[in-house]
């Protein structure tokens, strides 16, 4: 069908082109014809002018003959006497006069016969020149000229002006009719009748008599007479021919005919009025009249232009069609992907919903079984979080596709970002028993200025994919290194995540960044995912002007490398030095050992490295025996032979010295906290080992007595805090107030923004520690309410910390909140840990 349409398009183009060419050709022909008509008209006019010139000339010559005749008629002369008179009065060498008896057509000439100087007798008896003589008009009435004939006295082609005269017969003395011929060679006449050659080349002319015999014959005119000439090379039919001949003899006009060479010629005819039936014929090849009027250049240029247009159109059309086909295929694929996506979404949404609804029902029936209920609620929570991730991804890709994704840069700590990253990934790593390593290489600029939310999203998406698609027992390693950026004021963060997962096929690699695409694999089907993560990730990386690269091989694993140039924040940690400290770091990962030693060196710490627990034990023992104990020992938990925990036990058992020991791991500390404490660990530091983290932890261990790690579920510091919650939704108010109550935090409700502002305006100083502000509320939204509060007169009220607690979770919403004067943002559904963290942050800021 498409091919058919293309063919029709080409045919239509060619038809159009042909039509234009035909038009140009026709127009050119029209112009040519018009030009030809004009030329012919001009030619006829020139012919008429020529006729007048001719007529004047002929009248002049005839006048001479008339004068002679008049003289002769007025005298009683014989032929010989008349001839003598003319000879005496007319001395022109190129003309002569013949006086002949009208009956016998013999007489005498004023010039002798050629080669016979004594012979003056002349005879026209054998020439059919005069016919019945009726054509010779009376004296002075007309120009009487013979046709061109052969002068019997000298053999030259000549013509003669004639007059009837009356002479006396020498023998009888009687008066008799005679003819006076003033004979002029045609060669002399032709010299006087030449067309203006500069105007018409190859033009010729003739004068014909009433029988179409040539009086004067141009060289282009053939045959003995013009009509004979015409008939020889043109066969229009007898009637048309006769009509043409009649027209020629009766008036002025023009016509075309073929000459002896087959050329089309124009013949203009105009009667010479002062003669009896003579016609002046002007003859010119049509090609000469139309010279340079055929605009072949125009036709050529138009042809070439159209051809070029056709080719260009064709190529463009071909290219456009190809693109359209590709786009159609892509659109079809995208549509199919969306359909598949909807189907998948339906499945993916229904799956956690099923868990939520089902487990809720089960929990309701087992309210008495606290342990089972807690387990059910934990699973419900997990399903809810997955659902939330799903919704966030859908919203994100929607923004990506509509091009509305924008960046909201803030100053943030890359250390915290990585910590969050590790913390978030811990549950899955633990669940799948994946060997996990996270190496950080010399992160010198901790505080950066970028969209932290998007950066987190990028890093989390890549890492969570690696974990998701790595089978239990597999390995996931993360490398984060800071490199020098070519952009001024920036550092280049290179984030590399390598896994030993299922890998991707080359076919999928080509389309993995397309939204809604998931690898078709039975192993993947069991893994929760939206098929949007990579699409969102790449869009965000590109938005941040970074690069994302991927190497993957089926069954062997995948490596993603993301490079981002991020602006360095003005705010940085003060110079961190703990000079003079002697440390031992033990890990089975040589790269980690190297990077950690590097980091410690940058703090002024001299660090020895041990590749295993046994080696560490030996080095500690040797130092102890030398009386030069390490100031601090950092041990990896997951070292083989023996692991970190066992190494601590052996150190504490073998070495009698209170050397501070830090256990390090990429895994969740809470799971091993009790065991570690029991083994003798003094603290924990999570991987990756940041400079700031090491600085703080070592300082903490060396600057004070070694203390146990603070329990994570100690919320006593939150008790007594009173929070004003602006929330229009009853259920949400109930959830948040209940949650806060669990930590000893009291709360009051404002049903909308206006009430919130009123309460703040009326509240005594210190009544509320902070405000959780919903954004979308009736009467007055959270943003306006914040702006109103910030304008309150009381400094306490105007400066109270306000945290947005809203379902508007996008970065621009966050930015909007900040611009309105808020101090933080918590997205709904609220993560209790985040709420607590945010409260503590506010509290700490308040203290400082």
């Amino acid at each position: 069908m498409n091919r058919l349409k293309t063919s029709w398009m080409v045919v239509a183009n060619i038809a159009l082109m042909a039509a234009i060419l035909v038009f140009v050709a026709l127009y050119s022909r029209y112009e040519k014809n018009e030009n030809a008509r004009s030329q012919v008209e001009h030619f006829v006019n020139a012919s008429m002018a020529m006729e007048r010139v001719t007529e004047n000339y002929l009248e002049g010559e005839q006048g001479i003959c008339d004068n002679w005749a008049q003289y002769i008629n007025s005298r009683d002369l014989t032929l010989e006497e008349a001839a003598a008179y003319i000879s005496a009065t007319h001395a022109r060498a190129d003309t002569s006069a013949h006086l002949i008896d009208a009956e016998t057509l013999t007489g005498c000439s004023t010039r002798p016969k050629l080669n016979s100087p004594e012979e003056y007798a002349v005879s026209y008896a054998r020439m059919d020149l005069f016919g019945d003589g009726g054509w010779i008009a009376d004296l002075g009435e007309a120009i009487n000229i013979t046709r061109t004939y052969t002068n019997p006295m000298n053999g030259e082609q000549s013509l003669a002006f004639c007059n009837r005269i009356v002479v006396r017969d020498a023998a009888s003395g009687e008066r008799k009719q005679a003819l006076l011929l003033r004979v002029i060679p045609t060669s002399k006449l032709e010299e006087k009748w030449v067309f203006p050659k500069e105007e018409y080349e190859d033009e010729d002319f003739s004068i014909i008599d009433a029988d179409s015999n040539y009086v004067i014959r141009g060289r282009s005119f053939k045959s003995s007479s013009f009509f004979e000439f015409y008939k020889s090379y043109n066969q229009p039919g007898i009637a048309a021919q006769n009509q043409l001949f009649s027209d020629i003899m009766s008036g002025t006009g023009s016509f075309t005919m073929l000459d002896s060479r087959g050329r089309e010629c124009v013949v203009a005819h105009t009667p010479i009025t002062s003669t009896k039936g003579w016609v002046l014929l002007s003859f010119a090849p049509v090609s000469n009249l139309n010279a340079d009027t055929e605009n072949w250049i125009l036709i050529g240029v138009v042809s070439f232009g159209l051809l070029l247009l056709l080719v260009t159109d064709f190529l463009y059309m071909h290219s456009a069609n190809k693109k359209l086909r590709v786009m159609a295929r892509e659109a079809e694929a995208a549509n199919r992907a969306k359909t598949d996506f909807l189907s998948t979404m339906s499945h993916d949404i229904r799956t956690p919903m099923n868990a939520i609804i089902g487990l809720t029902a089960i929990a309701e029936k087992n309210l008495g079984d606290q342990e089972a209920t807690a387990d059910h609620l934990r699973k419900i929570s997990l399903a809810g979080h997955h659902l939330l991730t799903l919704i966030n991804d859908i919203l994100d890709i929607s923004k990506v596709e509509s091009g509305k994704l924008s960046l909201s840069p803030i100053t943030f700590s890359i250390v915290e970002t990585v910590e969050n990253l590790v913390n978030l990934s811990q549950p899955m790593i633990k669940e799948k028993n994946i060997v996990f390593s996270f190496r950080v290489n010399r992160i010198e600029k901790e505080y950066l200025y970028a969209d932290q939310l998007r950066l987190n999203q990028i890093y989390i998406n890549i890492l969570s994919n690696a974990i998701k698609y790595t089978m239990p027992g597999g390995r996931v390693s993360v490398d984060l290194r800071e490199e020098k950026s070519e952009k001024p004021g920036c550092v280049k963060l290179v984030y590399r995540v390598a896994d030993t997962g299922i890998g991707m096929s080359p076919e999928f690699l080509e389309k993995m960044y397309q939204p809604f695409s998931r690898q078709t694999d039975s192993r993947v089907n069991s893994i929760q995912g939206t098929g949007l993560g990579l699409a969102i990730t790449r869009q965000m990386v590109e938005l941040m002007h970074g690069t994302i690269e991927c190497q993957s091989e089926l069954e062997k694993g995948t490596t993603f490398t993301i490079s981002l140039d991020l602006q360095v924040a003005e705010k940085q940690l003060e110079e961190m030095r703990i000079d003079g400290v002697d440390a031992l770091i033990a890990d089975d990962d040589p790269i980690l050992l190297e990077t950690a030693a590097d980091t410690l060196a940058s703090l002024g710490v001299r660090a020895d490295q041990a590749g295993s627990g046994l080696e560490a034990l030996e080095m500690i023992r040797r130092r102890h025996e030398a009386g030069n104990d390490y100031n601090v020992i950092i041990l990896d938990w997951k070292m083989p032979d023996p692991d970190g925990m066992e190494t601590i036990r052996r150190i504490r058992a073998d070495i009698d010295a209170p050397i501070p020991i830090l256990l390090t791991s990429a895994y969740d500390w809470s799971d091993i906290e009790e065991e570690a404490k029991a083994a003798g660990a003094n603290g924990f530091i999570g991987k990756p080992l940041f400079r700031s983290g090491l600085y703080e932890k070592i300082n903490e261990l060396l600057g004070m007595e070694v203390k146990a790690v603070e329990p994570m579920d100690d919320y006593s510091d939150l008790a007594g805090i009173n929070i004003l919650i602006a929330e229009d939704n009853d259920l949400n108010w109930e959830i948040i107030s209940t949650m806060l109550g669990m930590f000893g935090i009291t709360s009051e409700r404002a049903e909308n923004g206006r009430i919130c502002v009123e309460k703040m305006a009326q509240a005594p100083e210190g009544r509320y520690d902070l405000i959780f502000m919903d954004v979308q509320m009736p009467e007055m939204n959270g943003l306006d309410a914040t702006r109103q509060i910030r304008k309150l007169d009381h400094p306490w009220a105007a400066s109270i910390p306000i945290i947005a607690m809203t379902a508007d979770a996008f970065s621009e919403n966050v930015a909007e909140c900040m611009q309105a004067g808020m101090n933080g943002h918590i997205a709904k559904p609220v993560d209790l840990k985040l709420v607590v963290k945010e409260i503590r942050r506010i509290k700490e800021e308040k203290k400082s």
């Binding site: 091919r3 293309t6 063919s7 080409v10 060619i14 016969k113 050629l114 080669n115 054998r126 020439m127 059919d128 020149l129 004939y149 052969t150 019997p152 000298n154 053999g155 030259e156 082609q157 060679p185 060669s187 060289r219 053939k222 045959s223 003995s224 007479s225 004979e228 000439f229 008939k231 020889s232 090379y233 066969q235 039919g237 007898i238 002896s260 060479r261 072949w296 036709i299 050529g300 042809s303 070439f304 051809l307 056709l310 080719v311 064709f314």
Partner: protein, 429 residues
């Protein structure tokens, strides 16, 4: 699609290039190699007794393909035969002129012969070998002063459609001729045979009788000598021809009344024949040459065209004769201007191809050895070699021809009896 595109592209390019290309110079005629500078500019005039000579003008055009700046003109002077000598002497003397076999031996043309160039001069390079030897006349010095360009012949134009319509065969014997004439007459044709009869020149009578006289003298040198010597005794050789003629006239197969309505021996003969009711029109090949052009000028022929051809007139049971004689010859005026170019034109013209081409256009018999007849003259190709006679080779003089012509005319018109004409041979006016 690619193929369609390629074809369209090629076609358009062809159109564009054809439009842009300059017209190729016309191919030069034949293999003729010019000896003079092709850019030579001059005038060449050919004069002759033909009123119109389109065949020669076509040759002019072909010659102009080689010499584009040579202006060639054909002219017919008045009273050609009488004024030729003077024209050759005039200030505008032509380069080439018609000459005729009958001029040989005629004292009036001595000055004309003085102007003639020897065309057998090897330096001129004329291909005289292409011409039938019997048509070339060498003088005592081995010169060729006149070169034939057409051959003469005598016969009858036959309306083939009329024969077919009446179910008759074209006659090839005397008895068949009589039978056919009888048949036509009985079918209402008032004059099965016609011809020009107004004056002796090219009259039907001489056309009938002359071939018989030539044949009678062909193998009789003594008789020929007597005839050429105007010996009245030689008049007897005319008798068979005269008798045959009179039998045709006497039987009413040739109606002189009908023939008298034909006012000239050329155009009117043709137009009368084209009326379509004349089975056989007696004429010369020169007259046949005018038929082609006049087909369209005859209303009757245009309305009812028919097939016709030129046949020998069978006045004996052995059939008719093919009188192969020069019709028109060309001579070069050796005292003219532009003689080199005149000779160049003659070198161009006197070749087998050009003479055949001219004969074909003129619808006359070519003088070349390649005697390929056109359809009209095809019957003469069937004439046995022994019946092909050349008066010039035989030695028949113009005076002899004139006596025969006069005799035939006078007898045919009833001005003299056969006996009178025979007895007055040598003095017939």
């Amino acid at each position: 699609m690619k193929r369609i595109f390629a074809v369209i592209l090629s076609a358009l390019f062809a159109v564009v290039f054809a439009a842009c290309a300059s017209p190729a110079r016309a191919e030069t005629a034949g293999a003729f190699q010019p000896r003079l500078d092709p850019d030579t500019s001059c005038e060449i005039t050919v004069i002759g007794s033909y009123s119109n000579f389109e065949a020669l003008e076509a040759e002019f055009d072909r010659f102009n393909e080689i010499y584009p700046h040579v202006e060639l003109t054909y002219l017919k002077p008045d009273d050609y035969n009488n004024l030729l000598g003077m024209v050759l002497e005039s200030s505008n003397a032509p380069q080439i002129f018609f000459s005729f076999p009958w001029m040989y031996g005629n004292e009036e043309y001595l000055t004309v012969f003085e102007h003639m160039e020897n065309l057998a001069d090897p330096q001129l390079g004329l291909d005289l070998e292409c011409i039938r030897s019997n048509l070339l006349q060498y003088d005592a010095e081995g010169q060729v002063l006149t070169v034939p360009v057409f051959a003469r012949n005598y016969g009858m134009l036959v309306n083939q459609d009329l024969f077919e319509k009446e179910g008759l065969e074209i006659p090839t014997t005397w008895s068949a001729l009589l039978a056919v004439c009888e048949a036509f007459q009985s079918k209402g044709y008032p004059s099965p045979m016609m011809g020009y009869s107004a004056d002796p020149s090219s009259c039907l009578m001489s056309i009938l009788v002359y071939p018989e006289v030539v044949a009678a003298l062909a193998d009789r040198p003594e008789a020929l000598q007597a005839a050429n010597g105007m010996d009245p005794a030689a008049g007897e050789y005319m008798r068979p021809g005269l008798e045959a003629m009179m039998q045709l006239i006497g039987s009413g197969y040739i109606s002189l009344d009908q023939c008298a309505q034909i006012s000239d021996n050329y155009t009117q003969v043709i137009l009368r024949f084209f009326e379509g009711d004349v089975p056989m029109m007696i004429c010369t090949a020169d007259t046949v040459s005018g038929t082609g052009k006049r087909e369209s000028q005859s209303e009757a022929f245009s309305r009812n065209p028919f097939v016709y051809s030129f046949h020998p007139i069978p006045l004996s049971e052995e059939g008719g004769y093919f009188i192969d004689s020069p019709s028109v010859e060309f001579s070069v005026n050796k005292t003219c201007d532009n003689l080199d170019m005149a000779n160049e034109f003659m070198r161009f013209l006197i070749t087998r191809d050009e003479l055949n081409s001219m004969a074909s256009v003129k619808r006359l018999i070519t003088p070349t050895k390649d005697l390929s007849f056109s359809a009209v003259f095809e019957p003469f190709g069937l004439v046995p070699a022994e019946r092909v006679l050349c008066p010039e080779t035989i030695g028949i003089t113009d005076a002899l021809f004139v006596q025969v012509r006069n005799a035939a005319y006078q007898v045919g018109t009833g001005a003299a009896s056969i006996d009178e004409a025979v007895s007055q041979y040598g003095s017939l006016k």
